[in-house]
Point group: D2
Chain length 112, copies 4
């Protein structure tokens, strides 16, 4: 069973084996990340809100994996611990969005 660290190592090796690091300046990584995020969005281009994407789980999983790949490559480039970075962000969100103020509201914290 793979975990996140094993996967990061696997990706590193994949890149090194192919000598692709030369192409992976962070600007290009960020472009690829953006393009893959758009491919996720494309799956919902003409759907209605709340419209179940029944039978589309596999497509979403595939495109989301592509996004995750570039997230990990950018994180590797900067030696960012993704789980820790998101944990920190969640701690900030807990403060920005207190339950009593934000419950049931889609407002941005600056509008609460």
């Amino acid at each position: 069973m793979a975990d996140l660290d094993t996967l990061r190592e696997k990706i590193k090796t994949f890149i090194e084996d192919r000598d692709w690091k030369q192409f992976h300046d962070p600007k290009n990584l960020a472009i690829s990340l953006q393009l893959e995020a758009s491919e996720v969005l494309e799956l919902f281009q003409w759907t209605k809100d709340n419209q179940a994407k029944v039978g589309k789980e596999q497509e979403v999983a595939d495109e989301l994996a592509d996004v995750f790949y570039w997230v990990i490559l950018l994180a590797n480039h900067y030696n960012i611990d993704l789980v820790q970075a998101l944990e920190k962000k969640m701690d900030q969100n807990e403060k920005k969005y207190p339950i009593e103020k934000s419950k049931g509201k889609a407002d941005k914290y600056t509008d609460l």
Copy 2:
């Protein structure tokens, strides 16, 4: 120390506590994912290739955490195991990009 599963649970609880699931149809999640990916790209808007973003690690970590957050929310929505989905993708990539053919080339696999 948090790992990915702990983090996913934390995010689930955060959403449930605020009764935000009603806003999180997959189309909206995909829009948010795309918008955060654009904020990562914005950090490189006028940089030159290979230009070191010295002292920018923290900004990248912050924006990347936002992307990762929506990746996890979309994965949760569809019960996607992210690590497994990416592992599968990496196995496909190993076949699409054989080392001997793709070494040192930025070509798409269809052009190799």
Copy 3:
């Protein structure tokens, strides 16, 4: 009264006066175009389908103008006549989407 050609000339002069052409390689122009398109999308981030954006016309006009600005800069870079390029595209669309086949359907032409 300004028309499109007058506007293109005005933008050219604006860039030349500021000596900004050095930053405007097409890759950077394309990044800026993408970022501004995301700002348009952001105006609809948590809206429901068909939800009138009453009182938001001005915001949409502002963000759309930003997108149009980068469209024109990229067109100028390649000496593309935008109106002609879109006219040609519309002629192709007329053939790809015959009225009798596509009426009332959101399908892509490849699925008609």
Copy 4:
């Protein structure tokens, strides 16, 4: 010879003939705009800065026409006069970026 107004009318008729207005809520238009802007960016995915896209003018023209199409559809939806909206924006830019302060600098106006 087509001009912008003729083109807007042509697009309106194209949509009406196919009864597509029902799909064109502004949120969906904004998604399509974003997706087409990403296709422009994709043309530069692995290029180096300043790398001439020799022989790529036609591809850029095609993708840019797609972006322009959604810009016009969104403008039509809100009865926005695109040329006037951008003229107004240029007037604001003239003030935000005085020549003497911004000449030769890629800084945002807030950093000048």
